[in-house]
């Protein structure tokens, strides 16, 4: 059972179709699956529903799929960094479903863990709860939210082994780990692909059971969105 693919394009081969639902990991531009996004752009697959916390920036991250108008709908919590997104949305070319960030993360986790619905206090009394069931537990109101699952999840990790076991680095873990569990097929790109046994079993963040395909992404650009520094003393 070989999970290893030689490049991002072959790693997506046979998985893509118009109108499909994808999850894409990352927070801002941190930990985005940049090579898989490039391959997705090249594939020309369209009418995509993309579940991702953000929509990239102009010309980077998922932003490149806006340029080619491949995205029909975004399910996100914050899309404030993207002018092209703004234009397509205001022109009515792009559908948008906002989720509170924690509700988004939990819906994805629920999709991976076989939980079709759960109750949360987040969003009660706001637009987010409209049309959804509200229920009282122990004197407080909660709103029922449903799971999210995807045809394919594309994620990015730091190190991975050929069995699909993954380790993330620092805050690049973000949505990548839960999204790995919620794709019918999960494709992971990594900065370093190693043999099984190289990663300590106690340090694995995402067990290989969740990863069907893996590719060594090669050179990473790893763009910084907001470079903030302090003066040296």
């Amino acid at each position: 059972m070989n999970k290893v693919f030689t490049d991002a394009t072959s790693a997506l081969d046979g998985l893509l179709f118009d109108g499909m639902t994808l999850m894409a990991g990352g927070f801002g531009l941190c930990g985005v699956p940049e090579h898989l996004i490039t391959a997705l752009k090249a594939s020309g697959t369209k009418d995509l529903t993309i579940i991702s916390n953000n929509a990239g920036v102009d010309g980077d991250g998922l932003g490149v799929l806006l340029e080619t108008r491949q995205i029909a709908k975004m399910v996100s919590s914050y899309v404030g960094e993207n002018k092209l997104f703004e234009k397509q949305y205001l022109d009515g070319d792009l559908e948008l479903e906002f989720n509170p960030q924690g509700t988004l993360a939990e819906r994805i986790r629920a999709g991976g863990a076989g939980i079709p619905a759960f109750f949360t206090k987040t969003g009660v009394g706001t637009l987010v709860a409209e049309g959804k069931e509200i229920r009282d537990f122990d004197g407080d109101d909660y709103v029922m939210e449903s799971w999210l699952r995807a045809d394919v999840s594309i994620i990015k990790a730091w190190k991975g082994d050929t069995e699909g076991n993954l380790i993330f680095r620092k805050t690049a873990r973000n949505f990548n780990a839960p999204m790995a569990t919620a794709g019918k097929v999960t494709v992971a790109e990594v900065e370093e692909l190693v043999e099984p046994g190289t990663l300590a079993a106690d340090e694995i963040h995402c067990p290989g059971i969740f990863v069907q395909r893996i590719v060594d992404g090669g050179n990473y650009r790893k763009v910084i969105e907001k470079r903030t520094t302090r003066p040296r003393p």
Binding site: F27, G28, L29, C30, G31, N53, S76, S77, Y78, V79, G80, E81, E86, Y89, L90, F98, P100, Q101, G102, T103, A105, E106, I108, R109, T120, K121, T122, G123, V124, G125, T126, L127, V128, W158, F168, R169, K170, T171, A172, R173, N174, F175, N176, A177, P178, H205, K222, V223, I224, E225, K226, R227, T228, T229, R230, P231, R232
Partner: protein, 216 residues
Amino acid sequence: MAWTRDEMAARAAKELSDGFYVNLGIGIPTLVANYIPDGMQVTLHSENGMLGIGPFPYEGEEDPDLINAGKQTVTELPQSSYFDSAASFGMIRGGHINLAILGAMQVAENGDLANWMIPGKLVKGMGGAMDLVAGVQRVVVVMDHNSKAGDAKFLTACDLPLTGTHVVDLLITDLGVFDIDKKNGGVTLIELAPDVTVTEVKERTAANFEVAAGLA
């Protein structure tokens, strides 16, 4: 004389206690980190999946894998830990964060908060704000008392779409500090900025409030 942004942040820092886990929003709340008293340990939480946010890195030491919820490059501390976004919001929703300090567009006298959406304008999204106000043990809002146009932002009821209902415990503006009883209702002005009068605050506020003994 109304408080400056830094004075408001310094006032908000008085809400911290030793051992607190705290989430700071973007803008003035971020400045609160500069006013943590020496010797007090406060661990800062970042929604994207980190506890123990350190200061900005030195130039040339920025790490693209290490950012805060505002997407700014930050650094790690000895006590830092990383986790995924689902776990991060488990902490928030589960009530494990002691304090959130946030900005706002509007606050109502019942503790309602609006800070994510202006109808007719492009909406950027609520990010983690709804989760924070619903889940964190205590919510402190820091905002200018009035809009640039001079309109009241502390109201009897918010007219902007809400971020949460009955969520704000304390409101700090450039004019003073209001204690909000979000469970039972009732607002009390408990502090005034230097040379600001109760009369001035009343003129510039739409919300109803009591005035603490000693201020009136």
